[in-house]
């Protein structure tokens, strides 16, 4: 980079990183709360007759938020390159917080029909626009304050925000869920994590209000070296567009997949494929990914010494080679075929009740509790509707409570994936910032 880096004291840098990170953590919280509550959103805002389709639609809505991030980056990046990073941060915070809060207020599908998923989609897209502007801005902001030779270290703190945001979202859900009855949580309690966002946004805005503008940007602006049309320069200019595409397909696309596979997909895999108890699965993921957080900073620091590409590509290679065996090992940990059942201890309870709507149809609920020699416990709830003498396909809900040994085995396996991810993600912000010139940096680097 041709610009001379103005010097910011270490204390100043700590203050800047803290202000940038706090807001980014909260925006990631807002973004991830949607995915963390995907199973509930699927049942509330989509038709209930096809749970698989509803869950797919929920995940697709989550994905839409990711896909529009570049457009948020385009808009807020242009804003950031024109008016400065600081004020743009405020706008992204308010947009994200407002959208998340609004999700908590949307009436369910049963009340407003197809309007429910449409409103959810629009709000999700708003979240995507906001996070598109936030993350790129935060990384750019810190990088432009960081001294030469330490950019990897200081920007790696921004990389930790994605994990902190996820952990925060999962903790808020667990605490809220366990502080009320199951019925309360199912009926209205699940809205609280969304509504809580507004408090967090107020805190972030308060912290950021005294942030100073990026010195590099301020200097460039005073010298008239900012771009009047960063959008056109980023994407109308072939030499910049080709770098954007390279960053997308050579780095962020793959590294993003590493991240989502090691966090969200692990959580979903535990709950929906392995049938681990919801609360236990979330605790496992929280512990495992929290253990990985220090390594973002380690690999960011290391990249300042030995280069960034080697570390990034090593992380990506390890993900390609090891993720499949790790997931296989995870699955076999709770595979009941590998366990010895204590058959005499099995408990079964059958309940038959008439369905009030029909008068002739009945619902049979069979609850089976199985115990295994290693302390594993499996609860299966089977619901069958008998209508006109015929039995419909039963609905089966399985939940496995793990013993401590299996729990820690799963924590260690997910931690291995997180370790690989921190290798791939720790130095990434610095690498991408350094790919683009300052005058269009916010716009360009936010896109990938």
């Amino acid at each position: 980079m041709a610009h001379t880096q103005p010097k910011t004291s270490t204390r100043g840098l700590v203050s800047i990183v803290t202000a940038s990170s706090v807001g980014t953590i909260i925006e990631w919280y807002d973004f991830y709360i949607f995915a963390s509550l995907a199973t509930i959103i699927a049942t509330r805002f989509f038709p209930k007759d096809n749970p698989t389709a509803a869950f797919l639609a929920t995940l697709a809505t989550f994905a839409a938020g990711l896909v529009v991030r570049p457009f948020g980056a385009l808009f807020f990046g242009r804003l950031g390159d024109l008016i400065g990073r600081k004020y743009t941060f405020m706008v992204t915070l308010v947009l994200m917080g407002g959208s998340t809060f609004a999700i908590g207020l949307v009436p369910e599908y049963e009340r407003i029909g197809f309007l429910a998923p449409v409103i959810i989609l629009i709000l999700r897209l708003s979240q995507g626009l906001a996070i598109g502007g936030e993350y790129g801005g935060a990384a750019t902001f810190v990088a432009e304050h960081a001294p030469i030779g330490k950019r990897g270290f200081w920007t790696s703190w921004i990389q930790t925000t994605t994990t902190f945001g996820l952990v925060l979202s999962m903790c808020v859900i667990l605490i809220t869920k366990n502080s009320m009855s199951a019925a309360g949580w199912e009926n209205w309690g699940w809205r609280i994590p969304f509504l809580a966002s507004v408090l967090m946004i107020v805190i972030s805005v308060w912290i950021r209000r005294n942030m100073s503008e990026s010195p590099l940007f301020a200097k460039a602006k005073s010298e008239g070296k900012t771009s009047v049309n960063p959008l056109k320069e980023s994407f109308g200019n072939k030499s910049n567009l080709k770098v954007v595409l390279l960053a997308l397909f050579g780095l962020t696309m793959g590294l993003g997949v590493v991240g989502y596979s090691s966090t969200f997909y692990s959580q979903s895999f535990l709950i929906k494929i392995m049938f681990v108890d919801y609360d236990q699965a979330n605790r496992i993921v929280i512990i495992a990914i929290s253990m990985g957080v220090p390594f973002y900073v380690f690999f960011g620091w290391l990249s300042d010494r030995i280069g960034r590409k080697f570390i990034l590509m090593t992380g990506l290679l390890m993900a390609v080679l090891f993720f499949r065996p790790i997931f296989e090992r995870m699955y076999q940990t709770t595979n009941l075929r590998n366990k010895v059942e204590n058959k005499p201890a099995m408990q079964m309870n059958v309940k038959k009740e008439m369905l009030p709507e029909s008068g002739t149809d009945s619902l049979i609920t069979t609850t089976t509790l199985r115990f295994y020699a290693d302390g594993t416990r499996c609860q299966e709830i089977k619901r069958e509707v008998i209508s006109a003498g015929k039995t419909d396909s039963p609905e089966i809900l399985t939940s496995i409570k793990l013993n401590d040994s299996d729990k820690w085995r799963l924590i260690f396996l997910i931690f291995q994936m997180m370790f690989i991810f921190t290798m791939a993600y720790g130095p990434l912000a610095a690498f991408i910032v350094e790919m683009f010139p300052l005058r269009i940096r916010y716009t360009s680097m936010s896109l990938p």
């Binding site: 038709p47 590294l255 895999f269 080697f310 990506l316 390609v320």
Partner: protein, 130 residues
């Protein structure tokens, strides 16, 4: 995760033995493509100092040739997104599938396929040569 979940459901219905790993096929393919592109095309750029590299005619030839592969991948992504995922869900008649179809057809597929087509074209034109 959307596509991963979809692949698992398909594998489960087809009674594939280790169906639970089917969802990983798509992310691993994506990571592999990214790895190849990253290794060949991305240059170390720490602190703005481009790593000293001796231009290699053979490497430049490989980069340009692979441009056709990226274009094919872009077309494959468009085909898969449109005709395997998006359109069947769009015309299924189920409201449940509509949101999924809209997102795949109008967001995910255009970004990935057009991006890959452009990337491939630039590679063929030698824009990423040393």
């Amino acid at each position: 995760m959307v596509i991963a979940t979809y692949l698992i459901e398909k594998a489960k219905v087809a009674h594939v033995a280790n169906y639970y790993l089917a969802g990983l096929n798509y992310p691993i393919v994506l990571m592999s493509v990214c790895l190849v592109i990253g290794l060949l095309y991305v240059k170390e750029n720490k602190e703005g100092k481009i790593a000293i590299q001796v231009p290699s005619k053979n490497l430049n030839k490989v980069k340009r040739s692979l441009g056709y592969v990226w274009i094919l991948l872009g077309l494959a992504a468009a085909y898969f997104g449109l005709f395997q995922l998006g359109i069947p869900k769009f015309v299924s008649g189920n409201k449940d599938d509509l949101i999924f179809a809209i997102i795949v057809l109008f967001f995910i597929t255009p970004v990935v396929s057009i991006g890959l087509l452009l990337f491939g074209k630039y590679a063929i034109d030698g824009e990423y040569d040393d």
